[in-house]
């Protein structure tokens, strides 16, 4: 039996310091290799995979693209995305409801980052858990489909607040579900003032050229920042 009295020690450690460290290493590797990395988060069924397939297919014509897709089970999404001709790998997370930086690092082991211009990380469909984990990405997209309801941003403010761009998907269904675009956009701005918003339909292709142009411009801005001497 120890006689030691409990004593208080001061600590200052991030709980996710391991994830943050791996994410920092990944971010440095991505920058060094010149690959621009985009992650996608949304609830299940909001059209992430269709949007990503369209994005990969379009970008594939002019750029070297690849994707990692996270799901609790099945390789269905990777099979779907492979139709775009881009290299795609599934990360089956098992019971884990989000991607972590170490999973991304492991999945990338056999890939040469220097051979890529864009890498997409499709997170597990979940509007809560992915918000806490940095994956080393340059840009985080949050997707909201017109069928989900305009108040989703108010119910899940954290995920909107930690993302950079909001993509409103399935715009071809907007009229059928009486989607109130102005209300949805106002709610996004309420939880993340100044957030960039884009509206797309992966089915008809509406809004896709604007999205692709915006993405290429963002990647270009980053690389010009890198080459300019500090």
């Amino acid at each position: 039996m120890s006689n030691a009295q409990p004593r208080m020690i001061e600590v200052r450690q991030n709980i996710l310091k391991h994830n943050d460290q791996v994410a920092r290493d990944l971010r440095r590797r991505f920058h060094d290799a010149g690959v621009y990395v985009v992650s996608l988060v949304s609830s299940p069924g909001s059209g992430k995979t269709a949007f990503l397939e369209k994005t990969l297919t379009t970008l594939h014509a002019t750029h070297r693209v690849a994707a990692l897709v996270g799901d609790l089970a099945t390789e269905n999404d990777a099979v779907r995305l492979a139709r775009s001709q881009a290299p795609v790998k599934q990360i089956v997370t098992g019971t884990v409801c989000h991607l972590e930086a170490a999973m991304v690092e492991k999945a990338l082991e056999e890939w040469k980052l220097e051979d890529l211009d864009f890498l997409f990380l499709e997170n597990v469909g979940n509007l809560v858990c992915p918000s806490s984990y940095d994956l080393g990405e340059d840009l985080r997209l949050v997707l909201l489909s017109v069928t989900e309801g305009e108040d989703k941003p108010l119910k899940y403010p954290t995920i909107f607040n930690t993302a950079d761009v909001a993509i409103i998907t399935k715009s071809d269904l907007a009229a059928a579900v009486e989607f109130d675009a102005a209300a949805a956009e106002a709610n996004i701005q309420r939880v993340r003032p100044g957030m960039q918003m884009m509206t797309v339909s992966s089915k008809t292709g509406a809004g896709m050229p604007e999205w692709i142009a915006s993405l290429i411009a963002k990647a270009g801005q980053r690389s010009s920042k890198e080459v300019s001497p500090v």
Binding site: I15, C129, S132
Partner: protein, 114 residues
């Protein structure tokens, strides 16, 4: 529900700090948790018991201090606490504010060890 993953990370961090300080058992862990951290306090408290079982933290208490969101208001040129995370608005001048200074933290700040 990623609170079990978070709780397991707390065990890793706490055991490492305990060893560094020459302890063999942790009796309490004190956290600072930002309201924008994406972690639900109640879910974390219930996951904690499970995550600490069979570790040096078994039976320890978890003390959580919630950190409100503080953002910089460009119009007032001052830090302001946000009343609710579903509306990023300055409580003084009502203008939208987005420059978050505090609220995403997930930190172990102190521990009781023996």
């Amino acid at each position: 529900m990623h609170e079990l993953s978070i709780a397991l990370s707390i065990v890793d961090v706490a055991e490492e700090e305990m060893r560094k300080n020459g302890g063999t058992q942790v009796t309490a862990v004190h956290l600072k948790l930002g309201v924008l951290s994406g972690v639900v306090r109640e879910a974390l408290l219930s996951a904690y018991g499970l995550a600490t079982e069979g570790t040096a933290l078994a039976g320890s208490s978890l003390v959580i201090e919630d950190l409100p969101v503080i953002a910089h208001c460009a119009k007032c040129d001052a830090p302001r606490a946000i009343n609710s995370i579903d509306w990023f608005i300055c409580p003084e001048c009502q203008s939208p504010i987005s420059d978050v200074l505090q609220g995403r933290e997930m930190q172990v700040v102190a521990m009781e060890i023996q």
